[in-house]
């Protein structure tokens, strides 16, 4: 056996054959795309105005960050540190919207799931609000709050809240009444029922709603920043496109998708799986 074969077997044993196969196969389209992209710069099929050279996209990070005085200024969202300011302000909005919107949505969803009269009035409102997608609210939000932070936050909150509301409501409705009745029989209060029955019972639905609402919210946020924002990644790609700085647009798009993909893959999906494992109800009484 040659050295190569031994090494290959060792690598396969260490990382798993299937995983390596998937990794190698999956990287083929990316390699092809990137080499096509590079070939385009070399042979100049399409002008650099339409497709920027890869090097320029990389350099754009440093060009945008060029005038930055230091780390302190970057954290303080200084206007000279464009790159970090845009990324951080987008992320800040996501976190703020999640911190406010998720608990509110869950609370109202549980209320609507528990109380039939509340749900009868809140459900049609929810259906309507969900079908006016987050984007359609942007013009009205600009009229109300002007261009800036509040508008973008409002759009994201709006998107998150209604999705979360719906998912928690459906989750609570799916909890078998036997559990609620047994807690009540044993002398539990209404609060006990919420805390020990509805919330854990609806947990899998709540967490998948969270994942969904973060996905939709992120999209809505980018759109809101483009139209009604004054900072953030959406704002960055939109203004760069108007100035025909396509390398910045490409950079922004890649960063947007990388942020979304990594949050989804390394945080939300594992959380969803764990919750279903921990809280998912397998047994359903008739």
């Amino acid at each position: 056996m040659s050295v190569l074969a031994i090494a290959s077997i060792a690598v396969q044993r260490r990382f798993g054959r299937q995983r390596i196969r998937k990794l190698l196969l999956g990287s083929i389209p990316f390699v092809v795309l990137i080499s096509l992209w590079h070939a385009n710069t070399v042979f100049e099929w399409l002008e650099p105005v339409f497709i920027p050279p890869i090097g320029d996209v990389w350099d754009a990070i440093f060009l945008l960050q060029e005038d930055c005085p230091g780390v302190g200024a970057a954290i303080a969202l200084d206007n000279n540190c464009l790159m970090s300011t845009h990324v951080l302000s987008s992320l800040g909005r996501v976190i703020l919207a999640a911190v406010i919107g998720l608990p509110l949505g869950i609370a109202f969803g549980i209320l609507a799931g528990m109380n039939r009269i509340a749900s009868k009035f809140l459900e049609p409102v929810g259906i309507f609000a969900n079908s006016i997608s987050g984007i359609a609210w942007i013009p009205l939000a600009i009229v109300w709050f002007g261009v800036g932070w509040v508008t973008t936050l409002f759009i994201m909150l709006n998107t998150i809240f209604w999705l979360m509301f719906f998912n928690s409501m459906m989750g609570v409705r799916g909890v078998a009444r036997v559990y609620e009745q047994s807690v009540l029989t044993m002398g539990g209060s209404r609060w006990d029922v919420i805390w020990h029955v509805y919330l854990p019972g609806a947990m899998p639905s709540i967490i998948s709603g969270m994942r969904m609402s973060m996905g939709f919210g992120w999209r809505a946020l980018i759109a809101a920043e483009m139209i009604g924002g004054d900072s953030g990644l959406g704002f960055m790609i939109f203004t760069s496109a108007q100035e025909f700085k396509i390398e910045e647009v490409f950079l922004g798009v890649i960063i947007i998708s990388l942020i979304f993909m990594s949050t989804d893959k390394y945080f939300l999906v594992p959380l969803e799986k764990w919750t279903i494992q921990r809280w998912g109800l397998v047994w359903k009484p008739n």
Partner: protein, 270 residues
């Protein structure tokens, strides 16, 4: 006990009344109408911030009279139908193709993951640089947003067809094409239906956003320019139309279609 059931209490009657759904909706709409008009009469500059419902209704009459509303509405719908049907027509075969061969699927899945997380709205600035503020731009964005969800769902649908069925068809001497036509396509039908609804939902959002950003006439453009021209009545009218259109489309066309497909083709397996 019997005495009570003969003369139902007021609360019971009220509850009974609330159980009728149509009644509920009417109460809700009337309630929203009152809250809306009271708020709009209380705030400082209602014409700018929250015009009363009557003003919105009047603006719709005005726009109908000028013929703007029907033209915007049909423009948007045509865009949605054309864009999403091309997207579906391309996405379904692509998903099926990926589904047949494991190697092909493993090759393309990570790339599809990547492109799915690049939302259509995010690539919008690039598309605008490539094609300018034209109808092509909006169409490309719609295509992009509707293609990936459907392809992805169809792929997972094909994956879920039990291998036994494929083996059974093979044993009976089916060709590759026959397996695809008679086993995989019907087997993934429920997923195709679900994915189509999802895709059309995404496409609808993309149409609105695309019209706003690319400045093509339509409902999205109407609410966007309404804000620019300080005509809040038009903005709210457009929003209501967008919401109602989607509800009608979703609840009376797409959901029944999906339910029927699942009922007809859904595999109940153990």
């Amino acid at each position: 006990m019997q005495q009570k059931s003969k003369t139902p209490s007021l609360v019971w009657r009220l509850n009974k009344l609330l159980q009728i759904n149509a009644m509920n909706l009417v109460i809700l709409i009337v309630g929203v109408y009152f809250i809306w008009s009271i708020t709009s009469s209380l705030i400082a500059n209602p014409a700018r911030y929250l015009p009363s419902p009557i003003a919105v209704a009047l603006s719709s009459v005005d726009m109908l009279y000028k013929g703007l509303l029907p033209s915007y509405f049909s423009d948007t719908l045509v865009r949605l139908v054309v864009g999403s049907s091309i997207g579906l027509a391309a996405g379904i075969p692509f998903g099926l193709l990926l589904g047949i061969n494991r190697t092909v699927a493993d090759t393309f899945q990570p790339m599809m993951n990547f492109f799915q997380s690049v939302s259509g709205i995010a690539i919008f600035p690039i598309v605008v640089i490539w094609w300018g503020n034209s109808d092509t731009t909006v169409l490309v964005v719609i295509l992009y947003t509707s293609f990936f969800p459907i392809a992805y769902t169809v792929l997972s649908g094909v994956r879920e067809v039990p291998i036994r069925y494929i083996h059974a068809a093979k044993t009976l001497g089916a060709s590759r094409y026959q397996i695809m036509k008679d086993v995989l396509l019907p087997g993934s039908m429920p997923h195709i239906a679900t994915g189509s609804r999802l895709s059309i939902g995404f496409a609808w959002r993309a149409v609105i956003a695309g019209e706003m950003l690319a400045g093509r006439e339509g409902l999205g453009w109407m609410i966007f320019t309404g804000q620019d021209a300080d005509k809040t009545t038009e903005v709210i009218l457009g929003m209501i139309l967008i919401g109602v259109t989607w509800i009608v489309l979703d609840h009376f066309l797409l959901r029944p279609l999906e339910a029927d497909t699942i009922e007809r083709w859904g595999l109940v397996q153990r």
